[in-house]
Subunit: 238 residues, 6 copies
Amino acid sequence: MRIDGRHRDELRPMAVTRNFIKHAQGSVLIEVGDTRVICTAMIEEKVPPFLKGQKQGWVTAEYEMLPASTNTRKSRDRNRGKIDGRTMEIQRLIGRSLRSVIDLSKLGERTIWIDCDVIQADGGTRTSAITGAFIALHDALTGMVKNGQIKEMPVTSFVAATSVGIHQGEPLVDLCYEEDSNAEVDMNMVMTEKGEIIEIQGTGEERPFNKEELAKLLSLGEESIKQIIDFQKETLLG
Amino acid sequence: MRIDGRHRDELRPMAVTRNFIKHAQGSVLIEVGDTRVICTAMIEEKVPPFLKGQKQGWVTAEYEMLPASTNTRKSRDRNRGKIDGRTMEIQRLIGRSLRSVIDLSKLGERTIWIDCDVIQADGGTRTSAITGAFIALHDALTGMVKNGQIKEMPVTSFVAATSVGIHQGEPLVDLCYEEDSNAEVDMNMVMTEKGEIIEIQGTGEERPFNKEELAKLLSLGEESIKQIIDFQKETLLG
Amino acid sequence: MRIDGRHRDELRPMAVTRNFIKHAQGSVLIEVGDTRVICTAMIEEKVPPFLKGQKQGWVTAEYEMLPASTNTRKSRDRNRGKIDGRTMEIQRLIGRSLRSVIDLSKLGERTIWIDCDVIQADGGTRTSAITGAFIALHDALTGMVKNGQIKEMPVTSFVAATSVGIHQGEPLVDLCYEEDSNAEVDMNMVMTEKGEIIEIQGTGEERPFNKEELAKLLSLGEESIKQIIDFQKETLLG
Amino acid sequence: MRIDGRHRDELRPMAVTRNFIKHAQGSVLIEVGDTRVICTAMIEEKVPPFLKGQKQGWVTAEYEMLPASTNTRKSRDRNRGKIDGRTMEIQRLIGRSLRSVIDLSKLGERTIWIDCDVIQADGGTRTSAITGAFIALHDALTGMVKNGQIKEMPVTSFVAATSVGIHQGEPLVDLCYEEDSNAEVDMNMVMTEKGEIIEIQGTGEERPFNKEELAKLLSLGEESIKQIIDFQKETLLG
Amino acid sequence: MRIDGRHRDELRPMAVTRNFIKHAQGSVLIEVGDTRVICTAMIEEKVPPFLKGQKQGWVTAEYEMLPASTNTRKSRDRNRGKIDGRTMEIQRLIGRSLRSVIDLSKLGERTIWIDCDVIQADGGTRTSAITGAFIALHDALTGMVKNGQIKEMPVTSFVAATSVGIHQGEPLVDLCYEEDSNAEVDMNMVMTEKGEIIEIQGTGEERPFNKEELAKLLSLGEESIKQIIDFQKETLLG
Amino acid sequence: MRIDGRHRDELRPMAVTRNFIKHAQGSVLIEVGDTRVICTAMIEEKVPPFLKGQKQGWVTAEYEMLPASTNTRKSRDRNRGKIDGRTMEIQRLIGRSLRSVIDLSKLGERTIWIDCDVIQADGGTRTSAITGAFIALHDALTGMVKNGQIKEMPVTSFVAATSVGIHQGEPLVDLCYEEDSNAEVDMNMVMTEKGEIIEIQGTGEERPFNKEELAKLLSLGEESIKQIIDFQKETLLG
């Protein structure tokens, strides 16, 4: 039994509120246990300089934690004039993950800005952000098809993410903050609906881990991401 | 009749969700029409350097708009490495307004950090932030009294704010974004429960205004802030 | 009797040296009591990006205090890599005030840069800056008419500013630093030659203030700004 | 046959010059094919604030590419006033990898600063940096034992890293720049001398990858890192 | 005959207004032809960290040009978040020059902040700043002796500076802006009252120069600095 | 006899490794005693904005010290978000020195970026950088002539630099760090192959110096730079 009563392969309750922010073409509030992230997708009618004239679009992501999202107030990056290393890593991961399932050549010369703002953090903010941002992006793209901006959906696969880890020798899925802080091994996985890997990042926080442990974590993550993608499909396609 | 069907002295619907963020000692989601702001109050057990050893506390505020809160995506201040002039003005106003109704000597050597994060903007974000932040602050202070951190409530008065303005020659209260963008005169008022002025900032955006117009705006603002403070009291004291 | 022997409705001696800096199209040293500000107006033959192609000009202002202008040396903003919140507020106020009396469509696609550098501060630096900057701007515009850059003066009204406040229960005008630091209520007013309000910013620093007090402050400010505009006219039009 | 004539499981030639910089307690020039990195370890007799008084040390890493290290000149981060996201990720990875094999409690209250400066880049700069930095760190620690600063070596295991990837459908090890730029899948692995995983980061750059492919990459990486650690041992222990 | 009618060894008219800024312990407006610089000296009762506990003081300088001081408006360094290279060089030169004639051990643990703000530039701003700053510093030190902060004057020699250069083949002293912009060789000299060199910085802007030319420039500079120091003595000692 | 056994007019051993970095069009590792600097020259097919359309090229230089190049680790400028004053001065000096011997009109609209990265410092880093950068620049230009990018070599003269100084009353050349730190007078000289001066910067660090001392230093520097230019010629023209 885990700290919050879950089985070791049990995901936390997940909820999604669509159209959460009226100005964004796609927007959700995603709740994964006590972790809550606002994910928005906004369209800009131009591409970054390195893509000019290449007849393709771009998807980019930013991630931020509100000061009150953590137990001890987190000072705003803008006050230090530079972005936190962890933040940088996470927003690059979100961007890569989403781009991997979008056919950018079908977007036209447009940028879709994904913003993931964590309003309450309890572990798994980056994976929740990916899961939620995909829904916001899907909604924005559906809107673009509807109003004729693009001809067909550029989505090549659903994508979702979760964390797995080893805590007190046990492989667990979807770690809450307390589990995450004490995990010996911590791994984030991003997968497609076909169970293929888009990104895998595993760290031996307290100790190295061997290949058997890695195999267990991979299976656990794969099973869980399947459930999450089912949830996404239900939400979006109903 | 106004653009959204209101009378010229009619406030937009206001809603407050308390305890919106679990990590903050006080936190609300305030909704004023389509304007939505998360206001949190977090306690830090030290004061800024200029107050060290003076046996008093401090209340300070930060304000930020999420990128998707506005019609066109607002780039994050952290990326430019400096804070927007308007943001700076607003957070200084929020801080001054709240400090004016708190007896800082009763706080002990503590700082209360107020964070106002606008998740959706439709005019009146700074005044909604003040109104909401007061509730979050009140909740945090009530908690401090309950758990014995302080002996008595340091609140000397309720405080709330609203905007008034002249639009097409007519004095209006609580302007939505469209009204605000086209107003000839724009004024923000912060008042106490006794109808006294804490802060008044009026600007002739399109043209100067005379003393008669000022008098009308003041009355309109005063009446409206009374209603808002009634709403705060009902929310807090039930 | 006030600390410097003035009556409560008496302005400090005001002096203006025109053509103080040879490189600027308009430039004054304005002295208001011991407050001294260099105000310059320089013309640039382009507009900011947001105005391109709109057949109008722009007026923008920057404000800074020299390190030795204050009692304790003020560290330069450039060393901290960010602009002081108060500085930001003041330069936005100066810019708005001047733009409100200029018909920007008569400027052509030009920017007029106003720089207000405080070399000695003794209260009222922002209002002195507005009063002085208007003269520098008027001189620069007169020069532009003379040399044929523009056809007619784009000035729609004279504009000047002063501070009023309540100090030991008494309404005072044009507060010096010592009065300002101890004022219960502090208000800055910017008005046109017709006695209309362009900007009003009142703060209850020590306590809230009521409508009767506001009315007294407004009258006092109005009377005083009339005198200041008379002084400006005498200076400029002789 | 690969672009540079190697077999798919063949590492590039590796060379290490120890004591490359006289001021550092440990320093190497590591060359992996055409990739060349200066790795230094310098001791500072204090710990970062968050470790003060905890009777343990710290190991931290910085990574930078010289402007001429890449084909097109890379502008220095200092000129933009912020650190590149990729740089941030890499230096965090280097730091974590080294800390995972050091018993920090045996360091005393000291920080060991690892600097990895890439003077020529041809793929695999981050993994070469980890492999080289471990040698520099080992040398610095050996020196500390010799001169009595610490009693015993705090190294719990050797650590090294390499890249693996899928290029034109083939799993390859130790990718050079041209292979890396065209790889479908890219993975960095950091392992101990016992073949345990410290860090694994795999990205489907061009397409997702399945579990069989992952398994092949893991084996390939494991074999190769064994060889690299043999090389490290020969270099250090002779 | 030079562009402004001077002989080639003739200095521009020099004027100094002492006590120009009331808040500084020493302050002058120095005018050298059309070049005008405000130089102030302010005392701070602490030393920079690297001098703590060393029983000596410090003298440091900052230099800045007001936006309107140059023909084309000079944008403020604070807006770019970094200090101009030329500015940096100049303020380091001013600091070194002044420190070279002050016995820092007689200052006590104090910092004297020198600020040189150019309000109008017409060549020779850095040398005028040194000449003027010395007077401000002397005044501040005299005040410290008078009020008992220090026992004796820590000044070991007077110091002044001027520019020399080769323009159209002719060695000239104290170049105005137009001469300076077209000079083939440009040299700044800082000397003591005994004719000894503190700092010499010569640059072949348009072409290299030989030792004979250097000798001529040195003589010219030496003669002129003697005159300037005579002027300083007259000003200060009457 | 000097600290390292040299005569007072004896240069340290100098060595140059050409083609040190494969991506740069010209690159050397220059070693002057224990001082080692990587100097590279890279060509960019555009000029800075202020030269656009002027049918000439530009040469610009950047200088940086690696953290481990100095005895105590030097923190990276990028972490403070601003460039060190000394660094700024040095890279401006390198750029000016190289430009003075290049006919920029023969470069075409190109920028040559010179990067001087100090990997080990033992005095004379700036002068070694100039000497080495000239060789890298010469190699890059020779390559441009060979591959037809430019028609003829734009080099008008060889250029090299060294330091001279007065240490314990004796004039010395090419000071190592220990001599440099204790020198009474410190001077950097940059000269052409004809023995003409491009730049001279002398500072009385501990005391002023007189004209006789200056003359001695000049002769010493001139003799030494001749030897260095002979070495450059041998290296390049062999």
